[in-house]
């Protein structure tokens, strides 16, 4: 099944093999789906004629960056788009055309035939209802099971997805569970009515990398055992390589390339796919990817920019013992050196960064910044020191004052530290804009007029305004699309080479650290697990946690990723940990939900209602 169609740009597009033929069973089919949104500023054409099919037991990944329309496409299957959307084309779920169903039949379809797993497990569950209530609800609704029986089945389901002590969790509220556990609950709810297809919209994006690997394992065993089709929406090529059977790449509302996962990821045809794959830093490939070069020779005798000795940072809590976010951490950063601070959420990596900026005090230990001890330093004394430090934050949407023009934002440090006059400040800003490859005309623009990556480049420019000796970069590229991230990283590396500042680079992404850092510090629960030169940590980690962390990061190559996955499972078994999978007897499972379905009256026929 290889056909060629014309894309909007007039180039031939390779449609790839593996697309189901006409008479094959398909659980989810998009035919010429087209979506427009009416907004304040006119109509937005979000999806432009998308065709896609998902077989039972198959994972089809819909890949794209932000604004590509991939989520919108998937929501058409649920018919849950906001009212200002106009939908064209046809979507069939389990053989029924979604657009022609009456509202009540559509509701019968949702949850029963097609279920969803959302990106944000922290907000996807209702905070005021117990896990049990939310689990039981859809089973009772779709007549799978009722009352006490439903409760029992819910406990079984929680057990299946690997939640410990399921009976106890049933009476808990979502805020009492961790992010990974909540995502498991969401998955348990999704499979509770034994749907034919699950739409997973960025199911692991908000999770830590080890948790992500577990959830992916769970999803994979789910489709293998239950023969459920999965439409996986993601921007992460590593996740695609790990999970997908077939891939469709979306760009600005169109599918530009599709095929089996090997075809698309290993032999991409379309320029966009090539660029996208070229922008992903790969674990284990080390330096030199994407033309990003870092000066390797570091003067070992260079003065220390940061020197931590047994640093302890605590957060005060009302009526409870203080929470120790950073516990006995020691490491140092030489001038001109990039040190990567790696860890999962709650590891205390950002806390150390904030402490370096003098934003939170240390409870004990010593924090020497550019030779001066800042623990217990007064605000006024910090100011001259701050002149020598630059900072970049994670969220490009929040890190620039929306009421200040971009030029003023960049010039702010000069004004605060009273450096130069109006003229010289303006010149400096222009120089910096050149350095981060932005046109000088943005000087008088406002942050909301440029997009995420451009804003992050402005943040970089601002951080470099005063020629700092040290730069603290807290997850500077985590919120960016991969192609944009590549660009920002490249500029960052260029500038580091040019200005030679020391850098504390905080990130959860090991591949990025691998690309840039000279030295790596791995943190877990506020403690240093392992620290040392990059090669040592990345290639020969000695600590179990570091090994797990590295093993969990997916790479955008299906063959390599398959190998990595097996290695990871082996590693987990060696370390006495469990490999996550769905604990279920498939026949029994289907039987249980099918018996119940007999009870359900199969309502009226689909009435065309528009």
């Amino acid at each position: 099944m290889t056909t060629t169609t014309q894309s909007g740009s007039g180039q031939p597009v390779y449609t790839g093999s593996g697309t189901p033929t006409g008479d094959e069973e398909v659980v989810l089919a998009f035919t010429e789906v087209d979506v427009r949104f009416k907004t304040e500023f006119g109509s937005v054409h979000a999806v432009k004629g998308v065709d896609l099919r998902v077989r039972p037991g198959e994972v089809v990944a819909l890949v794209g960056e932000s604004g590509s329309g991939k989520s919108v496409t998937s929501m058409t299957a649920m018919r849950l788009l906001p009212r200002n959307a106009t939908i064209g084309g046809q979507v069939d779920v389990a053989g029924r055309e979604v657009g022609r169903l009456s509202e009540s039949n559509m509701r019968r379809l949702r949850g029963n035939d097609v279920a969803m797993v959302f990106q944000e497990p922290m907000t996807a569950l209702n905070p005021v209802l117990t896990i049990g209530t939310q689990m039981v609800e859809s089973m009772e609704l779709h007549g799978v099971s009722r009352g006490a029986a439903a409760w029992k089945r819910a406990i079984e389901l929680l057990g299946m997805v690997g939640i410990p002590e399921p009976e106890r969790q049933m009476r808990k509220y979502p805020h009492e569970l961790s992010g990974g556990q909540r995502q498991r609950v969401v998955i348990a709810i999704a499979i509770s009515c034994d749907p034919k297809v699950i739409i997973a919209d960025e199911p692991t994006t908000a999770l830590d990398v080890t948790v992500q690997a577990d959830i992916l394992d769970l999803l994979r065993s789910l489709k293998d055992k239950l023969n459920t089709g999965i439409l996986l929406i993601t921007h992460n090529m590593g996740v695609v390589a790990d999970m997908a059977d077939r891939v469709a790449v979306m760009f600005k509302g169109e599918i530009v390339e599709r095929g089996t996962v090997e075809e698309v990821l290993l032999h991409p045809n379309h320029e966009y796919t090539k660029m996208l794959l070229g922008s992903v830093p790969r674990m284990g490939h080390g330096r030199g990817q994407m033309d990003i070069r870092v000066k390797e020779e570091i003067d070992a005798d260079a003065p220390l920019a940061i020197e931590l000795k047994n640093l302890v940072i605590e957060y005060q809590r009302l009526g409870k013992a203080p929470f120790r976010a950073v516990d006995d951490v020691s490491f140092d950063v030489h001038q001109g050196e990039i040190v990567g601070l790696v860890g999962e959420s709650g590891s205390g990596k950002s806390t150390i960064g904030r402490c370096a900026l003098g934003l939170i005090p240390a409870a004990a230990g010593e924090f020497r910044l550019l030779g001066e001890n800042i623990t217990g330093m007064k605000r006024g004394d910090l100011k001259p020191l701050r002149k020598r430090i630059g900072v970049i934050f994670q969220d490009p949407a929040a890190s620039l004052n929306p009421r200040l023009p971009i030029g003023e934002c960049i010039a702010e440090p000069l004004v605060v530290h009273q450096v130069g006059d109006r003229k010289s400040r303006e010149k400096r800003v222009y120089d910096l804009l050149d350095a981060v490859h932005l046109p000088r005309e943005v000087y008088n623009r406002y942050p909301h007029e440029v997009s995420g990556g451009q804003r992050q480049r402005i943040s970089v420019a601002r951080a470099l305004t005063l020629d700092p000796e040290l730069l603290v970069a807290d997850e500077p590229t985590s919120a960016l699309d991969v192609s944009v991230q590549a660009r920002v990283l490249k500029i960052f590396a260029e500038l580091q080479e040019q200005f030679g500042f020391a850098c504390l680079f905080i990130s959860h992404d090991l591949a990025v650290i691998d690309l840039l850092a000279h030295k790596v510090v791995v943190l877990q629960n506020g403690k240093v697990v392992e620290a040392g030169p990059r090669e040592q940590i990345m290639e020969n980690p000695t600590q179990e946690y570091t090994q797990r962390l590295i093993a969990a990061a997916p790479v955008p190559d299906p063959l390599e990723q398959g190998r990595r996955r097996r290695d990871r499972h082996e590693l987990l078994r060696e370390q006495g940990e469990e490999v996550v999978e769905l604990n279920v007897d498939a026949d029994q499972f289907h039987q249980a939900s099918r018996e119940a379905e007999v009870v359900e009256v199969d309502g009226t026929d689909d009435q065309p209602r528009r």
């Binding site: 849950l80 949850g111 209702n126």
Partner: protein, 510 residues
């Protein structure tokens, strides 16, 4: 949770104390307490002035006067309150006892009515966003929000009291008015229920017919002077209550729960006849309370026995239905008292002045007529106060609801296939109510303030009158008595709001 409440109580006590100092100092400095004597031409003027100075301790420094008052009040802890005397020698304790009841009744009823109606309207207008109903509610909210209370009260006094009295003397509803009323109902019901245009037209027509028929029938049987519900209406109402409870919980198709509700209604019918003699002239509110308790117990029992594995839902539905039916029976008996009350009041049921139609000492009606005696007087001030609070509650609820239905977990709920009804009532409403609880505290204070105005206009000798008396005569004791009761009520209301908050939001429990 307990710690949380204790902390709130401690803070409230501190605030009460600071507030009392502030109030006291401001009041004694708000004017010249000897003003009237200075302007008088009485021969013994100087003597009178000296006596008043002596009595009120006008020569003492403020803290000494405050301490004097505070000592008296602090004896409340040993149940021997001494709130001092007013300038004319009247005992403030007695003054307070005679005035507090009616005022607190007014404010409490207005608060709960406002919360209930306001939240309901807010939810409805959020669900039917951008519909005619929504726009009407929004505009009405703005209108009531901008309405000067005192002006509205004077207007209402004219239309609601004087003209109503004139009308009830010879009650007749013209066909035009009947049609108008029915039309209003039809429009409201149609736009609330929504749906396609055709469905809306049908609901509108049906509502119009029903309402028109009812009003016309009422008019024919002189219902306005001899009202009653009667058994048929009670049954219809009870079935409607059951339907409502079912729709709010499991939906109409659940057989077990429906049967439980029907059995409850049947038992209610039996009790209608059994309790008839007791209810003809009950000796007091205790009887009503006891019967309510019995109702709840019966409801619970029916749900327990018939619920099966859906016991909890069945119990909720049965109790809800039972209470709804009990309320209807109560209303039936109450309405039957109207004719007697009309007779007692000489066919002019509403008085423009006072918190009772007939002074309680001279009143000779039975239990039901007694309710009317203060009830009719309560209606107009309550409407005034409630209208303004409804406006703010409905706006806040609408905003909060719209905010909530944009949350991710609502999308999750919809993706499970839940209907709008369940999404709104089970998933959205509770979350949307959380921020509303904080508004209750502020709104209650403004209601108390509004009560001062309405009491003035409707000539109540209530708390507001006491406050004004004290302030006009620069006499701190009545003002402080007002402060104690109003402040105390506000603190209790706050506490309730806090508890509601904690029970709605599991994240702050424990």
């Amino acid at each position: 949770m307990l710690q949380f409440i204790l902390r709130r109580i401690a803070i409230s006590a501190l605030i009460m104390f600071l507030g009392s100092v502030l109030m006291y100092v401001l009041t004694i400095n708000s004017g010249d307490p000897l003003q009237d004597l200075r302007e008088s031409r009485a021969e013994n003027r100087d003597q009178l002035m000296a006596a008043r100075t002596e009595n009120m301790g006008l020569d003492d420094p403020w803290w000494q006067r405050y301490l004097g008052w505070f000592t008296g009040v602090s004896r409340c802890f040993v149940l021997q309150c001494d709130l001092g005397t007013a300038r004319d020698g009247a005992d403030v304790n007695n003054l307070l006892l005679s005035s507090a009841g009616a005022s607190l009744r007014l404010v409490t009823i207005a608060t709960f009515l406002a919360i209930f109606i306001g939240v309901a309207l807010g939810v409805l207008s959020a669900i039917r966003q951008y519909s005619g109903f929504d726009y009407t509610i929004t505009f009405a909210a703005f209108l009531f929000y901008s309405l000067p209370v005192f002006w509205a009260a004077v207007l209402l006094k004219d239309f609601g009291a004087i003209r109503f009295n004139n009308w009830i003397a010879d009650p007749a509803v013209s066909i035009t008015v009947t049609a108008l009323v029915a039309l209003l109902f039809a429009l409201a019901v149609a736009s609330v229920l929504g749906g396609s245009l055709r469905r809306q037209v049908v609901t509108g027509l049906v509502t119009f017919a029903v309402v028109f028929g009812l009003v016309f029938a009422f008019d024919q049987v002189q219902w306005w002077v001899q009202p009653a519900l009667g058994l048929p209406l009670i049954i219809v109402g009870a079935v409607a209550a059951l339907g409502f409870m079912l729709v709010m919980t499991v939906g109409l198709s659940n057989r077990k729960v429906t049967y439980a509700g029907l059995v409850t209604i049947a038992l209610g019918l039996v009790s209608y006849f059994v309790t008839g003699p007791i209810l003809d002239d009950p000796s007091g509110w205790l009887v009503i309370l006891a019967l309510t308790a019995v109702t709840v117990v019966v409801g619970l029992a029916v749900g327990w026995v018939m619920g099966g594995y859906e016991r909890r839902t069945a119990m909720t539905v049965s109790v809800g239905t039972a209470l709804g039916m009990a309320f209807l029976i109560f209303m039936d008996k109450l309405l039957r008292g109207w004719a007697g009350f009309l007779e007692l009041a000489g066919n002019r049921p509403v008085s423009t002045i006072g918190e009772n139609r007939i002074i309680p000492e001279r009143f000779e009606g039975d239990f039901w007529e007694g309710i009317f005696n203060w009830g009719v007087q309560l209606v107009l001030p309550t409407i005034v106060l409630t209208l303004i609070s409804i406006a703010s509650y409905s706006r806040y609820t609408r905003g909060s609801m719209l905010e909530t239905i944009n949350q991710d977990y609502i999308r999750t709920a919809r993706s499970k296939g839940l209907s709008d009804r369940v999404v709104f009532t089970k998933h959205a409403l509770r979350n949307a109510l959380i921020p509303i609880t904080t508004i209750v505290a502020f709104d209650f204070a403004s209601l108390l303030g509004g009560a001062v105005i309405t009491e003035t206009i409707f000539g109540w000798r209530g708390l507001g009158a006491m406050f004004r008396l004290g302030l006009d005569t620069v006499d701190p004791n009545p003002v402080m008595a007002y402060y104690l009761v109003a402040g105390g009520a506000a603190v209790i209301m706050n506490m309730l709001a806090d508890i509601a908050y904690a029970s709605l939001d599991p994240r702050i429990r424990r």
